[in-house]
């Protein structure tokens, strides 16, 4: 019992510590929304960024806690727009369209996937259900803090609603025996039917005009799709082949929903069409083509080609498909095949924030944004670089020099077990 009090006391201390101003001095800083700064300073307070700039341009308060970051590199916390950590699930096998299923009802926040993501420098994620359905449910946006409960980490809008998108898929993953579609045309027609129902439902709601006696019976799935039609919920759409990509754009146009294209293996073939539709792309970088028919032409060059066409390009890990500890690698391999360094670094940070409508809050190092950042040992796009520390809202959630954190960075015995609460830093507890 004594040790519990001790622990709580310690948590409280750390909790208050982050209200003090802190400064990282001497690093190369990539703010992303402004040019890189050599020998720079990052100043934070109360979990927010106060200032970023060259060493002499930032006035440090007298009570500042100084960290020497000479020779290190600082980036905004990475944003993974498509990840499957937390043992997430969504729709079940009963039907291909289940917009009512919520990822947030399935997530184990102690799952080691969160630790691996922190070790990779990922601070915000869009946790998605899988791609085996046309509509597999509602996704959830959250910070990758050590949490006791989901409430500690989910992101909410000003009204307190939990933020997330709608996961959809086309192509081969969602093709199965009935009631699942057997062809591409059937896939599209089932989706159209669902959105037409949602349009009708929305009209009925509008006609009722708040009168519950006139309103249609509540339908959880249609309610969620109405949020999509109202553009409150972005569609995150798994799609690989060029014709499937065009189908997504056609449906988005017909029903006027906002869409982020995910994976987009053939994106390089229809880059102009994607750009014309102003559809952002969250791409995956895979070490070899194939594995399934729709990914036969996946190519490292996709990021560069889309960037050149004027598309907003972000990256995702799709963890476990690629390892979130090596998320920077995705940007680096895109650069290998022609993407600009600036574009790749933006793709790992700010572009993701935009795709999740969170760019006012995160994604770059500028005054007023959350103090989510990572400290690297060297060039962000080098194979030899390690993530040394990951900070979220001014709190350190990963430190490679701590053996218990390092285990998750390297792997090893016990690295795949759920995090034990003894290892919890403060993020969840201090609020209690």
């Amino acid at each position: 019992m004594g040790s519990l009090y001790f622990l709580l006391g310690l948590q409280a201390q750390i909790g208050s510590a982050h209200d003090e101003p802190s400064a990282w001095v001497g690093a190369t800083i990539y703010p992303i929304d402004s040019p890189p700064v050599e020998d720079g300073v990052l100043l934070t307070r109360g979990g927010k960024i106060v200032a970023v700039g060259p060493r002499n341009s930032v006035q440090l308060p007298a009570d500042v806690r100084r960290y020497d970051a000479t020779g290190k590199v600082i980036l905004p916390g990475l944003i993974c727009t498509h990840i499957h950590i937390g043992q997430v699930s969504g729709a079940d096998r009963s039907s291909p369209i289940q917009p009512e299923a919520r990822a947030l009802d399935s997530i184990n926040v102690r799952n080691e996937g969160f630790q691996r993501a922190q070790a990779g420098g990922i601070t915000t994620v869009n946790i998605m259900p899988g791609s085996g359905h046309l509509i597999s449910g509602q996704t959830v946006y959250l910070k990758v803090k050590d949490a006791r409960t989901l409430d500690d980490v989910v992101l909410r809008d000003d009204d307190g609603n939990i933020l997330g998108g709608m996961k959809m898929a086309n192509g081969t993953n969602s093709r199965r025996d009935p009631p699942f579609p057997g062809t591409r045309a059937k896939s599209a027609s089932l989706v159209r039917e669902a959105y037409i129902k949602a349009q009708e439902y929305k009209e009925k709601l509008a006609r009722a005009n708040g009168d519950k006696s006139k309103a249609p019976p509540r339908d959880l799935g249609l309610e969620a799709l109405v949020e999509v039609l109202d553009k409150k919920r972005v569609v995150h759409h798994h799609t690989h082949r060029h014709d499937d990509i065009m189908t997504v754009l056609r449906l988005a146009d017909e029903f006027d929903f906002r869409v982020v294209l995910h994976h987009v293996s053939d994106g390089w073939k229809v880059a102009q069409e994607i750009a014309d539709a102003k559809a952002p792309c969250s791409i995956i970088v895979i070490d070899s083509p194939g594995g399934k028919e729709e990914a036969m032409n996946v190519d490292f060059k996709t990021g560069g080609v889309l960037e050149k066409a004027g598309v907003l390009v972000g990256f995702h890990t799709d963890d476990f498909i690629t390892d979130s500890r090596l998320f920077l690698r995705s940007g680096a391999l895109a650069v290998r095949a022609g993407m600009t360094r600036e574009g790749a670094l933006q793709g790992l940070t700010l572009a993701g924030a935009k795709m999740l409508d969170l760019d006012q809050k995160i994604g770059s190092l500028s005054e007023g944004k959350d103090a989510d950042f990572i400290l690297l040992s060297g060039d962000p796009l080098s194979v030899y670089t390690h993530v040394l520390e990951t900070w979220i809202e001014g709190e350190k959630v990963f430190d490679r020099s701590r053996p218990e954190d390092r285990l998750f960075a390297t792997g090893g015995q016990g690295a795949s077990r759920d995090r034990e609460d003894d290892n919890v830093c403060c993020s969840g507890w201090e609020k209690k």
Partner: protein, 414 residues
Amino acid sequence: MKTLSIILTLLSLLASADSSYAQIAVRGNTVHTMAGESIQDGVIIIRDGKIVAVGKSSAIQIPPDAKVLTAQVVTPGLVDAHTAVGLSGSLNQNHDQDQFEKSNPVQPELRAIDAYNARELLVSWVRSFGVTTIHTGHAPGAVMTGQTLLAKTRGHSIQRDVMQSRCMIAATVGDLARGRDGKPPGTRSKVIALLRAQLIKANEYAEKMKPSEKPEDEDSEEKDRTPGRDLRLEALVPVLQGEVPLLVTTHRAHDILSAIRVAQEFQIKIVLDGAAEAYLVLEEIKKSGFPVILHPTMARSRGELENKSMETAALLKKAGIRFALQSGFESYVPKTRVILFEAGIAACYGLTSKEALASITIDAARILGIADRVGSIEVGKDADLALYDGDPLEYTSHCIGVLIDGEVVSELRR
């Protein structure tokens, strides 16, 4: 007559010299020979598919008629110590998956040469990153899944590309060897029992098949008692004779020890494959003398690999255990990994760049028994080279050329 044939041979060599077998000189700002120190400003001279000279450019005369290739960095053609490309096709549909036949848990008679597709997309894919030699064949998944082979990645045909039609017999110890749908073997003990029983049977078979010491026609009854040929048991005889190693895919520490126990019982050679928990039993592995073909550094940490560490390569190195990296077998995406990338991550997690490069060149060649031909840039070896525009392990460098037996087989910038 003899002289004539020699002249004819020489003439034909000269004739072919115009096309693929011309003299080639490869210049590299850095040449990682993997045989001693790397050479700055080095030159490699190739004739008839072999390396005939290597050294500093100041010490080597480039023949005036030679085709000259230049690169920032030159390495030996990479050697992938274990993969399934050529058998496990890129489409991942039933019709292109020939790495695992599920009808019986023990099938050492399945030959990789009867399935290897030299022109499969993934063969050319790994080649474009500098891989010139692959140890490929049957994947893990049952007690014994079949044979493996060694091939160059030229992508022509089994006849031209295969270096060794039978390299090892692929075996599995651990969860992956369990039968599916309730079929035996259902436990670890049963897996090992099955493996031992099969080796004992093969031993008896070998005894029976030994040519009789009596003159052949003296006792025809004796001859009748020799069994008919049994492909399955026949395939295991060279294993028992120590000519062909068992490639035992096994990940858990206790399974690694089981594999070593069986190997010692039958005094056979094994190569430990995968070996995710090798770092827990380094002493035992070292003592056994068996080499390790380690899982890809980026292998997913789940199932039997839940305790996998990206630092294992460095720990094996430190322990003095012979090891190589592999691209392994992948059942989904990526359909194959690329050893160049796996070595890069190993270099980030504790190996030096040189050690990482060795694990995909000379160290791999030694474990596979082909270091006399490939794995390093030395006079007399096959002219298999990979050309890069920077540090080969760095994410943003490119492989810009690949030679196999002196022939340029890839000029892609990848």
